[in-house]
């Protein structure tokens, strides 16, 4: 039977895009950057993810786990969660 709602799902490709968009919109992850910067950006994404997980009381892993993705998919206010 469908298990009582338990969240599990490998991170899909589109989830990676969603994570980036969410962090740009609400956690000031900047969206530009050349290749080198993008690598640094990878570290930045981890930091911003931790900031978001801390805000929502999730386990702070820096990884887009199922619970984190679940929160990111929820409808919400467009105002950022952190100061610009």
């Amino acid at each position: 039977s469908h298990g009582f709602p338990a969240a599990t799902s490998e991170t899909q490709e589109q989830d990676v895009e969603m994570v980036k968009k969410y962090l740009e919109n609400y956690y000031n992850l900047n969206s530009n950057g050349k290749k080198v910067e993008r690598q640094r950006n990878g570290g930045l994404v981890t930091e911003k993810l931790k900031q978001m997980q801390k805000f929502f009381g999730l386990r702070v892993t820096g990884k887009p786990d199922a619970e984190t993705l679940n929160v990111m998919k929820q409808p919400r206010c467009g105002v950022p969660d952190v100061a610009p």
């Binding site: 338990a6 929502f56 409808p75 206010c77 467009g78």
Partner: protein, 367 residues
């Protein structure tokens, strides 16, 4: 709560607002009422007043727009970003924009305009997002049937504008703190192998794969259930959970509330009309006997015969010696009963009728 960085506020506390245009999803009267009620929540707890104007520039301009609406914060179509508002200040300051690619409602369905407007006006007045899931200023949309400022919201807005002149200061509901040693529960039940704890508008559950205790609104799973449930138990072999409040009860299967509920406890279980509500309930899986706890007595109901057993009610102490004469909540796990009263929890062996351990009520939360 969090104040907007720089602590922007309105120096003049008598503010005006204007609804520049209307969504086609609701009548104008419904929109007017949702907006007015949303402002009222904030004026009830502060010296702020809000006056609706129909033309010209108001402090807070309200509009329904979609996509890129030239404020450097484009909307994103249905879902996702529902609305936004700007901090206090001249021009666009204080203005609130609602994404008209959403479906705006005045009921349970997504998305309730009153609920979203109440949140956005918090930004218009100088509040940022709160980390308290029970606060209106929490970033994600939740609708638990009633729209009210939590104590966190009240504390935040009064930090900016001070209290209202009301002789009695309104207070708001507090969100349970799972590791608060004073935490007590309204009801607890197993559900498909998990244990769910209920308090006010919230459920709490632990997940073996995830150390953090999950706390969210009961309405996330069962929007039709009332807040402040009083008892709950699972009939595992029917994959059914029953929730009690007053003399009514609801039955759910997973996330679905079964049709034809709520029903009353008198006709369904045979309680006398002197019983006005149930304090706690638990069903023994291997015997099909369900125990109901009402004040200092307990009743036993046979799930197979679907009738109360003779010889009941009894004093709780007869069947469950040592657990006291009042039960807040109880559930069964691994053949033991876990009784909760106030901050205490008793692990009880129904076979030997003995208390095995005395625990703190929130011992399941790994604090």
């Amino acid at each position: 709560f969090v104040l907007t960085p720089g602590n922007p506020r309105w120096e003049n506390t008598n503010l005006t607002y204007r609804i520049e245009n209307y969504t086609p999803d609701l009548s104008r009267a419904d929109v007017d009422q949702a907006i007015e009620k949303a402002f009222q929540l904030w004026s009830n707890v502060t010296p702020l007043t809000f006056t609706k104007v129909s033309e010209g520039q108001a402090d807070i301009m309200i509009s329904f727009v979609r996509g890129d609406h030239r404020d450097n914060s484009p909307f994103d179509g249905p879902g996702g970003n529902l609305a936004h508002a700007f901090q206090p200040g001249a021009g666009i300051g204080g203005d609130a924009h609602f994404d008209d690619d959403e479906w705006w409602t005045s009921n349970f369905q997504d998305y309730n305009l009153y609920r979203v407007a109440a949140h956005e006006f918090g930004h218009s007045l100088g509040l940022a997002h709160s980390t308290d899931i029970g606060a209106l200023m929490y970033p994600s949309y939740t609708f638990s049937g009633d729209v009210q400022l939590s104590q966190d919201d009240i504390d935040g807005i009064q930090a900016i504008y001070g209290p209202s002149q009301n002789p009695t200061q309104p207070v708001g509901p507090q969100t349970p703190e799972v590791c608060d040693s004073k935490l007590t529960f309204d009801a607890i039940t197993t559900i498909r192998g998990e244990v769910m704890f209920f308090k006010d508008r919230f459920y709490m559950r632990t997940n073996p794969l995830y150390p953090e205790v999950e706390l969210n609104f009961i309405s996330v799973f069962w929007p039709q259930l009332p807040n402040g449930l009083q008892a709950a138990y699972e009939v595992a072999d029917r994959d059914e959970v029953r929730f009690f409040k007053g003399n009514k009860y609801w039955a759910v299967k997973g996330q679905d509330v079964l049709r034809g509920y709520p029903r009353d406890i008198y006709r369904s279980f045979g309680f006398p009309r002197t019983v006005k509500s149930i304090d706690a309930a638990v069903s023994e899986e291997d015997t099909g006997k369900t125990y109901f706890f009402v004040a200092n007595k307990c009743w036993r109901y046979d799930e197979y015969k679907q009738s109360m057993d003779a010889g009941y009610p009894k004093m709780i102490a007869e069947d469950f010696p040592g657990i006291g004469n009042k039960v807040d909540a109880v559930f069964q796990k691994g053949g033991f009963f876990y009784f909760f009263h106030g901050r205490r929890q008793y692990k009880f062996d129904p076979k030997t009728k003995r208390i095995l351990t005395l625990l703190k009520a929130n011992s399941w939360f790994n604090c």
